[in-house]
């Protein structure tokens, strides 16, 4: 029996036959995250920043403690951390506030076909409304973003560069460090979508010198409903909130009001308090597990599975050289939704579809694909199950008449 020192912390994986290979969509939650979230509801349940009774004070303290934990996790300052509904809300906030204020006609916004819809659609809208130009980095022959190709599209008119750190379909790591440097030479602002990166890579926003960075709590063992927008303090100070209402203002008069300072001016209304509090437990879990060990483990699993998958006749793998935990593939001649039903019947949970990244699916020239993704709680046995089920699936679909 192989030992996985993390697996036992995930109650869903105890006495359960689930082979969970969909962590790129959402990670499972360790007991500490479940307990921390539940304890808030059981012991506190009250709103933050408002009451002066003990429970309100304690809830506020825990909420703000997560902000400190996130800041230290990505090497930011505490007041550079904004809680949002998720990575999507974080990137929309940057585009619709910062972008709408700072983009002018004929400015250029660089994105890529590897983007998740949430990293490209807000900029598509800004470009349309402002008559700016949306520019795509030409991907290399494997579908990667390269520094060379980035240089080809970077101009004096580039104002925004919005790129994914790790692709949620191909599992490629973008060379963002060099890209950020080059972009800054042109005074362009860089927004990095770290939804897939935060669960796998140590992020240091200071060293990267990134301007904005978005994170999704639920992909890094945390609760749903909470994400993070990191922004450089000076940029956040100059940025207008999108949502106006309670808690985000300092003073309200009949015809004008004064906002609080960042990050609070961006956190209007009642926040997902339980989820924010639970996120701290997730960060503590990952810090203790150590992202380097986690990534080592995940890479070994991915490679172990890939070495066997590539020998299976009748499947096509789209990202043989992925850097991170993902295998994107199809059974030839079988629509991924047909295939996914077979995997589901065998309790292998993987994702079928376009993964909210239609541009790369179109770039690959396919309609959709299957995606298996690994995380710290996965085992070699899970990989074996994936391989065996894939072989059985090929056999089954050929037997009922699907031609390869």
């Amino acid at each position: 029996m192989e030992l996985n020192r993390w697996r036992q912390d995930f109650p869903q994986l105890k006495d359960n036959d689930l082979i969970y290979l969909d962590s790129a969509a959402s990670a499972l939650k360790p007991q500490t995250v479940i307990d921390t979230t539940m304890n808030y509801y059981r012991d506190l349940s009250v709103n933050i920043h408002r009451g002066i009774y003990d429970e309100a004070y304690e809830a506020t303290r825990l909420f703000e403690a997560t902000r400190e934990a996130v800041a230290s996790f990505i090497h930011a300052e505490v007041d550079e951390i904004i809680f949002t509904r998720g990575a999507t809300a974080a990137m929309n906030l940057v585009a619709l506030s910062f972008g709408m204020t700072n983009i002018q006609k004929d400015d250029e916004i660089i994105v890529s076909e590897l983007e998740h819809h949430s990293s490209v659609l807000p900029w598509q809208k800004v470009a349309t409304l402002k008559q700016a130009k949306l520019v795509y980095i030409p991907l290399d022959e494997n579908g990667r973003i390269t520094v060379e190709n980035f240089k080809k599209v970077l101009t004096n008119r580039t104002k925004i560069v919005a790129l994914t750190y790790i692709s949620n379909v191909m599992g490629y790591v973008t060379p963002i460090e060099a890209i950020i440097q080059l972009a800054h030479e042109k005074k362009a602002c860089v927004i990095v979508d770290a939804a897939q990166a935060a669960p796998h890579l140590k992020i240091d926003v200071k060293r990267l010198d990134v301007d904005f960075l978005a994170i999704a709590g639920h992909k890094m063992l945390g609760p749903t409903g909470v994400g993070v927008l990191y922004g450089k303090k000076a940029l956040l100070d100059a940025m207008e909130p999108l949502e106006l209402g309670g808690e985000m203002n300092e003073e309200v008069n009949l015809y004008h009001a004064i906002w609080k300072d960042a990050p609070y001016k961006f956190e209007s209304g009642t926040m997902p308090i339980a989820s924010v509090i639970g996120l701290k437990a997730a960060i503590e879990y990952l810090e203790k597990a150590d992202l380097v060990s986690v990534e080592n483990h995940v890479k070994k699993l991915r490679n172990y599975a890939f070495q066997q998958m590539k020998k299976i006749e009748g499947i096509k793998i789209y990202n043989p050289d992925a850097d991170s935990s993902i295998i994107a593939f199809n059974i030839t001649g079988v629509h991924p939704h047909d295939a996914a039903s077979f995997f589901a019947e065998h309790r292998v949970a993987l994702r079928a579809g376009h993964h909210c990244a239609q541009l790369i699916i179109k770039w690959l020239g396919i309609e959709a694909c299957l995606r298996a993704s690994f995380y710290l709680y996965n085992t070699y046995a899970d990989c074996d199950q994936l391989v065996q089920t894939t072989k059985a699936a090929v056999k089954f679909f050929r037997s009922v008449g699907f031609e390869g």
């Binding site: 079988v334 629509h335 991924p336 939704h337 047909d338 996914a340 039903s341 077979f342 589901a344 019947e345 079928a352 579809g353 376009h354 309609e367 959709a368 089954f396 679909f397 009922v400 008449g401 699907f402 031609e403």
Partner: protein, 143 residues
Amino acid sequence: MEKLDNLYREIIMEHYKNPRNKGLVDDPAYVTVHIKNPSCGDDITIQSHFINGKVIDCRHDGHGCSICCSSASVLTETVIDKTVTEAEKLADNYLKMVSNKPFDAFLDLEEASVYSGVRQFPARIKCASIAWQAFLETLKKGA
């Protein structure tokens, strides 16, 4: 495994590989409805031609999984030459059957009855439904 065998029945595979009435026509007498299932990329267009309360032709085109594409083909064969009232009743009943709702088991769905296996795959109900839903839309729009 039995569940899967029950889903991928011979008739379904046969229609998937050799779809009937496939390809759209450029004829204004046909009522055209296009439905997309954005979550999986299934994309189906149905064209119906109604004369005097009867479905005299029905065509389909598009792409998607085997359940989606084959069901479009089966749909066309089932509804052609039916009266509009009969066809609507069949479509209604079929949609109830695949989504595991009470349905009239005595109403003859002909070949379409092989899709009863879909009930055991809640995630696939949509695949089996969109062609028939598009057909119902053509009825609403033009019959």
